[in-house]
Symmetry: C2
Subunit: 173 residues, 2 copies
Amino acid sequence: LRENTRYCRQLPQWRQSTTIRAYSRGGKREAAVSEPGGQGGLSGTHALDEEQIIRFAREFDPQPFHTDPDAAVDTMFGGLAASGWHTMALTMRLLVESVPIAKGVIGSGGEIAWPRATRPGDVLHVVSEIVEIVPNRSRPDRAMVLMRSETRNQRDEVAQTFTAKLVVFRRTS
Amino acid sequence: LRENTRYCRQLPQWRQSTTIRAYSRGGKREAAVSEPGGQGGLSGTHALDEEQIIRFAREFDPQPFHTDPDAAVDTMFGGLAASGWHTMALTMRLLVESVPIAKGVIGSGGEIAWPRATRPGDVLHVVSEIVEIVPNRSRPDRAMVLMRSETRNQRDEVAQTFTAKLVVFRRTS
């Protein structure tokens, strides 16, 4: 429990959250379930436009529904949509700017889903919560922190969910 | 089984693979295990350099180990490393250029892991295999195809694994 508190101290906005309190009370290494009303970490926003969507897609995901507004109409998307990796990359930027981990937001992997397309004109923000903190037994200076992030648009619709496995180092001070 | 063959026809290089043959023989909807020597789909290559790594990271993942070769030395990475999302975005580019799906490589999500850092000078390629094909019961024009891709460097070391859930449409011809 004391170990967990040390990692939590790096995450002040989450320390107040129901998730973290529930976890700390139990002292278990299992996932804590967020109670309704539990406050998560909140990022800034990013406004997407057609130019950004096309520029990213031309370099990394050159498919008509991401690069050509006219051709996109006759595809599954019914119009221009951002590459899912563009939504993810912007999510990472918003996380880096808002998640208070001293040595950086370092992921060893994670699970991603896109329940809804991201469109030109969408304004994205990210809501995150800590799901689990697992101290590393062989390397006592670090823990694996499972963080779940929802990337939402200006209508608060979820465009992406991402559950990251983060490598978090213990505070030395 | 006939249904599966229709989706497989879009993936000629995988039709020859042990994975697909094993799957077709069984006709099951469970994951087929690739036998040793099973041939997967192979992408082209992409050579990464310091300039690309820093440019991507400044826009999407601005942390010292991705943007500053000097500062990176004293981090967990011990030197400049590409953002994992950069490795993923390049993987997507290589997949789009090499995976033969008529209506595009469209993912609804997936699972990602980075067992090894990607460095300046690395030359990446992607090896993929179809793990599972699940016809959509309510929408007979499409199937969910589970594709596992390894992104490897010039020493054939695995820098990233990505298991994608793809939306694949049936051939109409």
